[in-house]
Subunit: 461 residues, 3 copies
């Protein structure tokens, strides 16, 4: 067994500044890119290939040998071959015995095969030490050296020593290895580069759908209705006025949707009297995307803030202001300051600002590097206490802003309510139920259930 020899090779203090030889099976795109990069980092590279004619695509300083010869020259062999061709390695099992085989393959679809490629390789060659690595790095990025994105290389494998050897190579290429544990993690690592924001999908589609609905709702009431009944062409409302109605509504509803599943969960647990039964699937999925819903809500809130702040710069607004002043002058009457109006305008602005401020704070604490520096108790304090406070402030902001129109018939064009009335339904419902849940007579049993100590009925499955 040449296990020991390979170890010595790897761990001996290499005072001569020479790195150990690495063998690459396969001269495809990724094999060549990786070889290039390794030669740059000082590794002697040997390619194992069917045809040993030196193609001019292969890095100049690399040797090209037959698979068997190449494998014998190195303790680490990178398998830059597609999974379908792994079979051809079986005859080489003897030579590959004890060697570190690095599986860098990717699939075209999520969970394409029952077992991961790396586990399949380990099954084919039980005497070799298989390590999964490098599959999350793009050949193009390796080649061009412009690794702006993640420098993390996920590594997994059952042999700790073999993993260490591969992680040393990863570090030598100026990448950051991340140990993901045993080879069982290979499936997850192989699925990783195929994903495109999987947990964001539902929140994004939900908010796109709601946005479209509210946009056309506003378009009908604010532009079309006005055009039909009042002969005013306010088509330019599409650019700012309507977006600035839709954004706050979306922000408020999505923020409420962040806290709604928690309310459902509490009710279900109270009803069942235990926390040891799974929630329905939809609730589980909903709870898992709360962070994403909250961040999208924050995006809408930010847009609302900028759209609002831009108001005085709009031609329409400055025209309306001048018109108001000029009509006051021409009628020779100056309106006195209405204290009530001043209070309403100032307090809804202040409520909105404070709500947005807390909202941004929630967003900052959900940055990975910040939330990693916060313990569970602190995280719950910020996300639950401050989050509810933000929801209360934002709901109050909307209530104060729109309060006077609730009972005014002019707010019900075509008998439809204005959208901020619609936007208040979910947040108000969440706040009312939460208020009930805080009462000691409800809160106490719930806390006990969550600590696992209590369950009302004895149930057996």
């Amino acid at each position: 067994m040449n296990k020991n020899s390979s170890n010595i090779m790897a761990l001996a203090p290499n005072t001569s500044n020479k790195r150990e030889t690495v063998c690459i099976f396969g001269t495809g795109d990724f094999g060549r890119a990786l070889g290039h990069k390794m030669i740059q980092s000082g590794y002697p590279v040997v390619y194992g290939s069917r045809s040993t004619q030196i193609s001019n695509l292969i890095p100049k300083d690399a040797e090209v040998l037959s698979h068997a010869e190449a494998a014998q020259k190195a303790a680490i062999i990178i398998i830059a071959i597609q999974r379908q061709h792994y079979n051809f390695l079986i005859p080489l099992a003897e030579i590959l015995h004890g060697k570190v085989l690095v599986d860098i393959s990717n699939n075209l679809k999520l969970n394409q095969y029952p077992e991961s490629n790396a586990e399949y390789l380990a099954q084919l060659l039980p005497g070799s030490r298989v390590v999964k690595a490098f599959n999350t790095v793009s050949a193009w990025a390796l080649q061009s050296g412009t690794l702006d994105a993640s420098r993390q290389v996920f590594v997994c494998g059952d042999d700790v020593e073999a993993k260490q050897m591969v992680m040393n190579i990863v570090r030598a290429l100026s990448l950051t290895p991340l140990d993901k544990g045993s080879l069982l993690a290979a499936q997850e690592i192989e699925n990783y580069p195929l994903q495109l924001f999987p947990i964001w999908k539902f929140p994004i589609f939900l908010s796109l759908g709601l946005t479209a609905f509210f946009f056309f709702y506003c378009l009908a009431l604010d532009v079309i209705y006005t055009y039909i009944y009042e002969r005013n062409n306010f088509s330019f409302f599409i650019a700012i006025t309507i977006p600035n109605r839709v954004c706050p509504v979306m922000a408020l509803i999505l923020l409420a949707l962040v806290y709604l599943p928690g309310i459902f969960a509490a009710i279900i647990q109270l009803y069942r009297g235990t926390k040891y039964r799974r929630f329905p699937d939809w609730l589980d999925k909903w709870m898992l995307c709360r962070k994403q819903l909250g961040l999208i809500a924050l995006a809408f809130a930010s847009l609302h803030v900028v759209f609002t702040l831009v108001t005085p710069m709009r031609a329409f607004v400055s025209w309306r202001t001048s018109k108001g002043i000029i009509s006051q002058v021409l009628n020779n009457k100056t309106e006195p300051l209405s204290n009530t109006n001043a209070w309403i305008s100032d307090s809804y602005l202040a409520l909105g600002i404070l709500g947005f401020f807390l909202f941004v704070l929630l967003g900052i604490t959900s940055l990975p590097s910040v939330s990693n520096n916060v313990n569970w108790r602190e995280f719950r304090f910020v996300q639950s206490k401050l989050g509810y406070l933000a929801l209360i402030l934002c709901t109050a902001h909307t209530l104060v802003y729109g309060g006077k129109w609730f009972l005014s018939p002019s707010a019900y064009k075509w008998y439809l309510p204005n959208i901020y009335i619609l936007s208040l339904i979910v947040p108000c419902a969440v706040l009312v139920v939460k208020f009930v849940l805080i009462f000691p007579c409800v809160d106490k049993p719930l806390t006990q259930i969550r600590q696992g100590w209590e369950r009302n009925p004895k149930h057996s499955e």
Copy 2:
């Protein structure tokens, strides 16, 4: 010694996709939650319990045995028992010899016991390999699968191999292990989940106190004074006007308080002529919470910015503007553009914007992931050079804004100065002393003291 056997178990390439059995002592809430999660991740789980009657709360696929039987089935035993009951493990010492014991316990208070629970366990069972882990994870989070917060699991222990085995389990549960070193770190790890923003406490209380003081100060001068002497009801100033006076004052003072301890430290070192004597305790504590003071200052500055930008939308402001224009019209005189006024208004706005911009930059570089990517020299450049520049710009902003009122008697209602005059005391003092410290004749000895090369007097302790 079954140390070797357990290793082989852990490290053998498990081609049959089977994970090693894990034993859990204790069927309490956390034990059950962890068992659930482990079974989901493919680990066979055996519970060790006094009563081996299978409770229906225990995960279905788990076996329940006596402690001794359960321990024999696994190389890793999770001790989900409270510290008070650790004694009962002593009779099992023989069976637990060489096994990996995972201490997951938490205390109710910081530093409740002289030694950490994990060290206590290691003392009770010197033949076992104790690893501290999982105590920072909440049972509720494990159960519901909604780990929005930190996925980090702190792990420590004296046996490297045992630690590796536990870290592999942590990874398999989709959590991130973080090696904190030897078992001496257990105390710190056990204290961690009990903290609620400890370094934030002083800065937050300080700023709450100052905010309250300035708020009532402004209330007295701007609302009550006006009501008493001018019969004007400006009570709505509470919503925006007063907060927008308090916020910038707080931001400026807190920013100056970030740099004040550095000044004190320099003076103390110059006076003592050495850096090898400890600072007074209050100064040490102050220096440790500078980052937090700075971030709270940034929060106040951001609120000030939004409160200011919202100005033109306020009913009061638009009423005042119209009144001004109308009175110009009615008096038939148009005021010409005052170049001085234009300069003052534009320059204090510009100074404020640049100061705030640098302030935000300082905030971004204090994000953990950013400051980790910056070396000591770069960090000092940003936090010291750019920080002082921000302080200079913000002080200048306040000076230009309020300059004209300094000597005006109307600014001294009830003989009290306006709050922006108060706000300038600390920053101006900091800037003046810093200016003196920059002079070569002062800077040179200070630099030498900080490099450890010089001390004026020979002192012996």
Copy 3:
């Protein structure tokens, strides 16, 4: 060989809460600071020094012995000596055999010596196990305990066990060790603390230069021209008006410069028909600082946003507004709302807001902690798709804003174009060429080249 004994020392469960003794060679500033900190963390410390007279600068609880005696007391020896004096260690080679030597030295210049200090030390003492560590930590920070900056300690070395021992010490000092691999990484680690934002240098100088050019260009056209030909003193434009012209221009040009090198690269690859030849050096460097260019562009865009939002608060603007209203009143004619103007004003504001929103999103995803949580496919989606969308929106924003002036002769003072016309050249060029590159007949061969499968001509080097 005492390798085994040292291991046992390190790994034995230290139930007596005693840490292993650490020896420090050298009583200079850093040696003393490190010793202080280690004693605080519970390590017995022995200093090795030429003169064994106890100086009162050395921590009280530390022993001071001759080098040989001190070395024998510990398994880990920290070499707090400058590289020039490493020679004196050669006579001690016998005693240092098998010991862990921690090289903490730094140089004064980047790449001062052909090999790193740690490698030099390893060559001098081939029997010792050299580990590089602690050089990125400042003595002042260790001393004062105020480690606000990075707590990361880079560690590298050829002996895995020795590295583990050093990393345990690092953790015990509440710092975070980061394994950088073999001793070959020492050069990089030694260069690290000497850097001052190296990749930021070119982008910052470029933007400073361009900013200065545009500032004086505007100064000439807006202030000096107006003063000479119209006798108006608009010198206060220097504070806000001109910066708010320069900032958006800079933001747009720098954003375009982020995407320009990608366009050049595509053209070069199409022309050459291969991706396996290196890009010219200037292009490589340019591509490596794209992220920095983008972040500076974001800074300019943010300044532009705040400068714009502040507009209604400016004395000049409110004077201009009043003048407009008053002249309308005096002429007794009220201008009707121009639908076209309302459309133009609202749509350029909306385009700008959306563009800035995407821009901020790009900025957030380039935070290290966020980009590490994103795979290559997701990163490319955000930075390429959303980035181009931001560029399109910002270009459209500028076009709509300035559109009406393109053909107006008053926009060409002194026959020079207004700067937003200049600012449109690069982004429009980028967008047009990108539009061409998207066509299938161009995109298909490019994709093939980037996948490495195709090359038009056979070239040999």
